[in-house]
């Protein structure tokens, strides 16, 4: 009943202050570290009552962490609320904030000593079962009987190769030694080994603690190693990042020769880099110290729990190299020594015996040599003679440059520039002469080149020139009109058929030399000019000038222009073919039509006279097949123009 009464009193007492605090001040939550203490104290106060609270207040009166117990403290309201909550049972277990957990983790245990080493773990070099058993057996006996047994065994088995592991040089000797130590521990164990083993078998926490200690030690070692490597890497990076080009010459200081001892020792560029890094690190340490002071000012309570970070190791610059004792020489001039050397003056004397220049101090020897040995003089003369004979063979210095010049002139492939390199063996300046020579073919008078030059000359002469020469030989040059007529005959033969020409010739000249006409030679031969003249004269009588080449309708004169020349009716000479079925014997018949009439009228007259149907008639004039709907003027037909009649064959086949 007493407990119940006290609980009631406590509840009534706690309700009023918390409510008043909440209404007046508002709830202020303390920092994590103080909050932990407040929660614990509130829990105990709720459990043990007001007496416990008063006792704590008296005990911790001077502790600033427990200021929340006084009513004037800003955290007192939070304390009252927690006491009320704990008494009501709302808060069952304290929930540690995440920040506090993280803070505790930072202050974890750091192993300070390495764990005990493994005593019974040894690795042999071989896994041969027999060898391992033998080593173990020997190790057991040696551990039991001592060194004496080992010595006697080695003496007995000196020649047995299986016992080589007893020698220090063997790879399994270390394994054997460790086995001996292990067996000694087994034979003479410590006094508490039994109790210790029983404790290991039952107590589980000891093993877990040992394993966790080893794990943390391994992690600690790895962390240290990583930190050292990181520092080395940072050092290397910092040194590599120094920009040596930032250094400039500020001032030059001259020292007197006597001031050498007062100067600091010499240093290398590496030492300069190290010194710069040292200064930078000192500045960083100062900044860190200032920040640390600020942190301490902000929160004093952190100082107790926080584990101070290990201070950076003091950097000691490497010792400078040994002091050099060089002497500085001023006004050093390397040329002065050379000029100061004394130059010896030698006197030369011309020998009266040989005529050579000889030093004066060696004149005595020279005279002695020449007077004593007569063979020497003969040898000298012969030597001089041989040397004189060789001189004409070698070229002089002046000749060499001239020879090189001549050589360069001809070897343009080596010494030439640009296009000249392609001409091998040609001298500079000869190019123009060779080109001029090509233009003229001058005979040199020899029999060998006579025919060649003749052919070359003939090739260059044009065809016209040859004709003029031939005509000049035969006397045709005086008559240009005849020459013109001769040129006109050639295209005529090319444009018409041979049969027509033969028929025409026979018809025009019936009475003159009938037997000599068939073997008419080709025109244009200069050897027979007389035979070509008669046909030309006959042609002039026939009509206008004939066409020189195959004609097309485009070459015809327009019909309107042609009508201005020719008017009225014209008579046409129609050459009939050999067609017995139509009563035609190849003769020439005249027909008269109007120049403006279509050609169908001419065909109608032919049909009326000979009975040949109009559809079978084919008329040709100057190589052109005329059309029925065209007029004579269109085809430029004049009076007495020759027209050739042919038979139109069906089926397109020619008989």
């Amino acid at each position: 009943m007493t407990a119940v009464v006290s609980n009631r009193e406590e509840d009534s007492m706690n309700n009023e202050p918390s409510l008043s605090g909440r209404a007046i001040i508002g709830l202020i939550y303390p920092p994590p570290d103080i909050r932990t203490i407040v929660d614990k104290t509130a829990r105990f106060a709720a459990k043990n009552g007001v007496d416990f609270e008063n006792k704590i207040r008296e005990k911790e009166a001077k502790n600033p962490k427990f200021n929340f117990l006084s009513i004037t403290d800003p955290y007192h309201a939070y304390y009252k609320k927690m006491v009320y909550d704990f008494s009501e049972g709302r808060v069952e277990a304290p929930k540690v904030p995440q920040a506090v957990k993280e803070h505790v983790k930072k202050a974890e245990f750091v192993p300070s000593a390495p764990p005990p080493a493994y005593e019974f773990s040894a690795d042999p070099s071989t896994i041969n079962a027999y060898d391992l058993d033998l080593i173990r057996l020997v190790a057991l006996f040696v551990a039991r009987n001592g060194r004496q047994f080992l010595t006697q065994l080695m003496t007995r088995e000196a020649r047995n190769y299986q016992f080589d592991f007893l020698k220090p040089a063997h790879c399994n000797f270390t394994y054997f030694t460790k086995l001996v130590d292990q067996y000694q521990k087994v034979l003479v164990p410590s006094t508490n080994v039994v109790a210790q083993l029983q404790d290991d078998a039952t107590n589980k926490k000891r093993l877990i603690e040992d394993i966790n200690y080893r794990v943390s030690w391994e992690k600690h070692q790895k962390g240290l190693k990583d930190r050292e490597e990181a520092e080395a890497e940072k050092e290397r990076q910092a040194y590599a990042s120094i920009d040596w080009h930032d250094f400039v010459v500020v001032q030059t200081v001259d020292f007197q020769p006597g001031d050498t001892s007062q100067l600091p020792p010499l240093c290398t560029p590496k030492d300069v880099g190290a010194r710069i890094l040292l200064e930078a690190r000192n500045e960083m340490q100062k900044a860190a110290a200032e920040m640390q002071e600020m942190d301490m000012e902000e929160s004093d309570s952190d100082d107790e729990d926080a584990v101070q970070a290990p201070e950076a190791p003091a950097f000691t610059a490497p010792l400078p190299p040994t002091k050099q004792k060089d002497v500085i020489v001023r006004d050093y001039d390397p040329k002065r020594n050379v000029t100061q050397k004394p130059k010896a003056v030698e006197n030369w004397i011309i020998s009266p015996l040989t005529g050579e220049r000889i030093p004066s101090d060696k004149l005595a020897e020279h005279v002695r040599y020449n007077t004593v040995d007569s063979q020497y003089k003969e040898d000298r003369d012969r030597h001089i003679g041989e040397r004189s004979t060789e001189e004409p063979v070698l070229a002089l210095g002046a000749d060499i440059s001239r020879n090189l010049g001549n050589f360069a002139e001809r070897r343009t492939d080596i010494f030439g520039v640009g296009g000249e390199q392609t001409m091998i063996g040609k001298k500079l300046g000869e190019e123009d002469n060779s080109q001029q020579g090509q233009n003229k073919l001058i005979w040199d008078g020899t029999e060998e080149t006579r025919d060649m030059i003749t052919r070359a000359v003939q090739n260059k002469v044009t065809l016209d020139q040859q004709i003029n020469e031939i005509h000049r030989q035969h006397g045709f040059v005086a008559d240009p009109s005849k020459e013109k007529i001769g040129a006109q005959q050639v295209p005529r033969h090319q444009s018409t058929q041979g049969n027509v020409t033969i028929t025409q010739g026979i018809t025009n000249i019936p009475g003159q030399m009938p037997s000599g006409w068939p073997p008419v030679p080709p025109m244009g031969m200069p050897g027979m000019p007389n035979q070509a003249l008669p046909p030309i004269r006959q042609m002039d009588f026939g009509g206008g000038p004939p066409a020189k080449r195959p004609r097309t309708e485009d070459d015809l004169i327009p019909e309107a222009d042609w009508l201005k020349k020719v008017n009225g009716a014209i008579s046409l000479n129609v050459h009939l073919p050999q067609a017995p079925e139509h009563g035609m014997d190849g003769s020439i018949v005249q027909f008269t039509i109007q120049v403006t009439a279509p050609m169908s009228e001419l065909k109608q007259q032919i049909q009326d006279r000979y009975g040949m149907p109009v559809g079978k008639q084919k008329l040709m004039s100057d190589g052109l097949f005329v059309k029925d709907n065209m007029s004579s003027a269109f085809y430029n037909l004049a009076d007495r123009t020759a027209i050739y009649l042919q038979v139109k064959e069906r089926g397109g086949k020619k008989k």
């Binding site: 049972g89 079962a129 033998l134 057991l140 006996f141 034979l187 029983q198 078998a201």
Partner: protein, 500 residues
């Protein structure tokens, strides 16, 4: 060899190697959750082996049978070389019988284990059994306990998510109506068993015995003091009603019956007597104490009531301790609880996927049913497809199989669908019919099914063919002298008349 000293040395080596391999296992990198769980299991295996080896080694050092001291005496002494060479002979004989034997020292065994540990990407086997819901130790699976919970008496129904959030808050459960039942005891025991099993599978190194012993002490202390949360309402509730009744004004048991059953019950409880029975029995029992001290009362009534109270207290203490164990385990497994709630919420959000999965299951069921059937259901007499089932009706109509065509030349044969009808003109039946009619089966007669039509077309074709033959009177050409081209017949007629 059976050397006692060698065995002792080997056990020492094994102990140290086990510690070393355990340290390496803890330091090694683990990529997945499964690797972490398996690593814990391996560490437990090593630790258990360490304990057994230590126990065995302790037994050897005790040397109860004296084998260790006997061997030590035999190895030492004046005949050490004789003993040495006799043992050497035994070794040689053993190895001569088994020349290819390979030594398996602890070095090789632990080296293999170390190689497996160093490789972080090795395949992880299933070392312990977990349900699909647990995802190899990542989540809890409390569905069975949830079913038991919602079936308890006077329990407000909650969903699984809420249960996961509040299952360790036992103060909210009614004490007198729910916690006194046997189902509640069964429920909390099953919940504790599951949590302990989960802990052993995921955290085998966690020492639950020490945790439970501490919790038991705390709960027992609080329970006896009467201020344990959830179990303190007994005395407070009965306090006001437990006032004793002054028996001076009453002269007989009949007068006490007027107080009522509850009043009499309270009075009897106040003085520690039995409080059960009818109204008359209670009144008689209470009136019997008038004028007497408590020590003179019947011991049977007193002891029975007290023993009942003690039994109830012991039972309540056991339940309270079990509840405390569950609370401790819930705190240790807080991370898994949070993960489980997130996982359940994630699964509930994937309703669309679940629907698809259900549909897939239905399809599978349907397929199984269809396979069992021997004759397919085909009322429309549809043709069967490649899988032995009728083709769809829309496909049946698409191909025009519902249309029929008959051919008289083929003997009034009926064909389904235009494709088959067109194809039959080149088949043997139609060709045979045409051959009987004396008509060649050429492309002229395509699409003709009537015999009369075929014969008419055949006659027409024959007539046209005769007209196309060479007829000299009509096709031969003659030309007169005028060039006119006339036929031979006309030429002869004109010639006969003398017009040429």
């Amino acid at each position: 060899m059976d050397s006692c000293l060698e065995t002792i040395r080997n056990l020492h080596e094994e102990r140290e190697r086990l510690i070393d391999i355990t340290v390496k296992e803890k330091i090694a990198e683990k990529l997945t959750h499964k690797a972490k769980v398996n690593s814990e299991q391996r560490v437990k295996t090593f630790v258990d082996r360490y304990y057994s080896v230590s126990a065995e080694l302790a037994k050897f050092y005790k040397d109860e049978d004296g084998s260790k001291s006997m061997e030590m005496d035999s190895v030492s002494g004046p005949n050490e070389f004789a003993e040495f060479y006799s043992r050497l002979k035994v070794i040689k004989d053993a190895h001569r019988r088994n020349p290819d034997e390979l030594a398996e020292p602890l070095t090789v065994e632990f080296q293999k284990i170390n190689e497996e540990i160093i490789n972080p990407e090795r395949a992880e086997p299933d070392m312990v059994e977990f349900s699909d819901e647990e995802a190899y130790g990542r989540f809890l699976d409390l569905h069975a306990q949830y079913d038991k919970f919602i079936n308890l008496k006077n329990i407000k129904r909650v969903d699984y998510m809420t249960y996961l959030l509040n299952f360790e808050k036992f103060t909210e459960i009614p004490k007198n109506t729910t916690k006194k039942t046997g189902a509640y005891k069964e429920y909390i025991n099953s919940l504790k068993d599951y949590l302990v099993s989960f802990m052993q599978r995921t955290r085998p190194l966690h020492d639950l015995d020490s945790v439970f012993s501490e919790v038991n002490q705390t709960v027992e202390r609080a329970f006896k003091a009467g201020n344990l949360p959830g179990w303190e309402a007994d005395k407070n509730k009965n306090g006001p009603q437990a006032a004793a009744v002054d028996l001076s004004p009453y002269n007989s048991a009949e007068e006490l019956e007027g107080l009522g059953l509850e009043r009499l019950k309270g009075a009897l409880m106040a003085i520690g007597l039995k409080c059960g029975g009818t109204l008359k029995e209670r009144a008689d029992r209470l009136f019997a104490t008038k004028g007497h001290k408590l020590s003179d009362l019947e011991k049977a009534a007193m002891s029975s009531n007290n023993s009942d109270a003690e039994k109830q207290n012991a039972k309540n203490l056991t339940l309270a301790q079990t509840e405390a164990h569950i609370m401790a385990l819930a705190d240790i497994l807080a991370e898994e609880r949070t993960g489980t709630r997130e996982n359940v919420e994630r699964k509930q959000a994937r309703s669309a996927g679940e629907v698809e999965e259900e549909e897939e299951e239905e399809i599978v069921i349907e397929e199984e049913e269809e396979i069992d059937e021997s004759a397919p259901y085909n009322p429309k007499n549809l043709p069967l497809g490649w899988d032995g089932k009728p083709i769809p009706y829309w496909l049946y109509k698409l191909h025009g199989l519902n249309l029929s065509y008959s051919c008289e030349i083929c003997g009034n044969q009926t064909y389904k669908g235009p494709k088959a009808f067109q194809k039959h003109f080149n088949e043997w039946r139609h060709s045979h019919g045409m051959r009987c009619l004396g008509i060649p089966n050429t492309s002229h007669f395509a699409n003709i099914t009537k015999i009369k039509d075929a014969l008419d077309l055949w006659n027409k074709l024959k007539t046209e063919k005769e007209m196309a033959k060479w007829n000299p009177d009509i096709d031969e050409e003659y030309e007169d002298s005028s060039g006119n081209v006339v036929t031979r017949k006309m030429y002869e007629d004109l010639k006969r008349q003398g017009l040429l």
